[in-house]
């Protein structure tokens, strides 16, 4: 290996080490800004518990009218540019377009809002976990206990818990926090879900 090649390799190693340190330091710094995402159940508990939370629905006005998370208000990216919310506000975003939600999240963070989170699976997550939680027919004791908690939460928000759902209708990971909620709602909710254009958020 010639001197030039050695210098190039050393330079590359230093660049990679610097990148690792920067990304590592940013990871530690990001912890002071609160979590980037929240689950529908966490959001429901916050609303029910009376914790001040600004819930912003980033879908169209028509979709908002059809169904939305209780206490949510409709918002566009334009609204967020000069949002009057205080910088200390705790904000939760959701939508049906992950790119728009990510833009809104980044915009608010850049404007100095430190407590901005989003629901990763959008309104659909709210429907599957809070509006219509499901209990498998062969549920374990732990699943039943968790369902009782979710069912009480669901009734608080006017939802309809579902009992004795076939295990196969519940996707793997349904009971895990943040797990996949799948795409098997009841017939009634299927109509609602069909109306929600879910594009990965």
């Amino acid at each position: 290996m010639g001197d030039a090649e050695v210098a190039r390799v050393i330079g590359l190693h230093r660049t990679l080490a610097l990148a690792a340190l920067i990304l590592g330091g940013a990871a530690a710094a990001s912890e002071s800004m609160g979590p980037e995402w929240t689950t529908a159940v966490e959001l429901a508990e916050r609303i029910k518990g009376g914790q001040p939370t600004e819930v912003l629905d980033l879908r169209s006005a028509e979709e908002f009218q059809r169904f939305h998370v209780p206490s949510a208000v409709p918002a566009t990216l334009g609204d967020l540019i000069d949002s009057p919310l205080p910088k200390s506000a705790s904000i939760v975003l959701y939508g049906d377009d992950s790119a728009r939600v990510a833009q809104a999240w980044a915009l608010l963070r850049m404007r100095g809002y430190r407590h901005v989170a989003y629901m990763r699976q959008g309104l659909y997550e709210w429907i599957a976990r809070v509006h219509e939680p499901a209990l498998a027919v062969d549920a374990t004791a732990a699943e039943r206990a968790e369902f009782d908690r979710l069912a009480a939460l669901s009734r608080y928000f006017g939802g309809q818990p579902r009992l004795d759902v076939p295990r196969a209708a519940l996707p793997a990971g349904y009971w895990r926090a943040g797990g996949d909620i799948g795409s098997r709602p009841s017939v009634e909710t299927a109509l609602l879900v069909a109306a929600i254009r879910r594009r990965g958020c």
Binding site: H13, L16, A17, A20, L21, L23, G24, G25, A27, A28, A29, S30, E31, E36, W37, S98, A102, Y118, R120, G173, R176, A177, G178, G179, D180
Partner: protein
Amino acid sequence: MSAAADPVALTLAVACALGFAFGWLLERAGLGSARVLVGQFYFANLTVFKVLFSALVTAMLGAFWLDRAGLLDLGAVYVPETFAVPQAIGGLLFGGGLLLAGLCPGTSCVAAATGRTDGLAVMAGLVLGILAFDLAFDSLNQVYASTPLGTLTLPDLLHLPAGVVVALVAGMAVVMFVAAEWAMRRWRA
């Protein structure tokens, strides 16, 4: 059913692609050579440490930031459970085997693929070892399932936020890389 629509076929296809990439990178990093691997134990060649720790730090930073960007759900990633005593015994056996053979399971595949007979011998030993373990499993089961500690992660153990642990590990890696380079220069001098 097309591979794109069948999650099992897709998973296997991705696993094959990752396996080829892993083997290729191990070979390119020189880890198909028993001399390079054994050099680790004599502090004569720290390539193994540098390659594997680089991979660990890259994966850690990638997983953390992909999760933060909402592209990966770390909550859905399987974390193997800890069984303290059997895993300590397994670690000692693995280390002893690595020192004796000069190859670990992955690098033995790489060595065998490049035509090294020591790689083929280690792979044969692996298969025989798996067979022997399977046949003796009933009598080993008591030890195998002992001291279960559940799923443990560094943030849980240290009671620190994940981002802080990520920063600590990244910083530690850089310090150790510098120390490894210094040690190797001293050894060569």
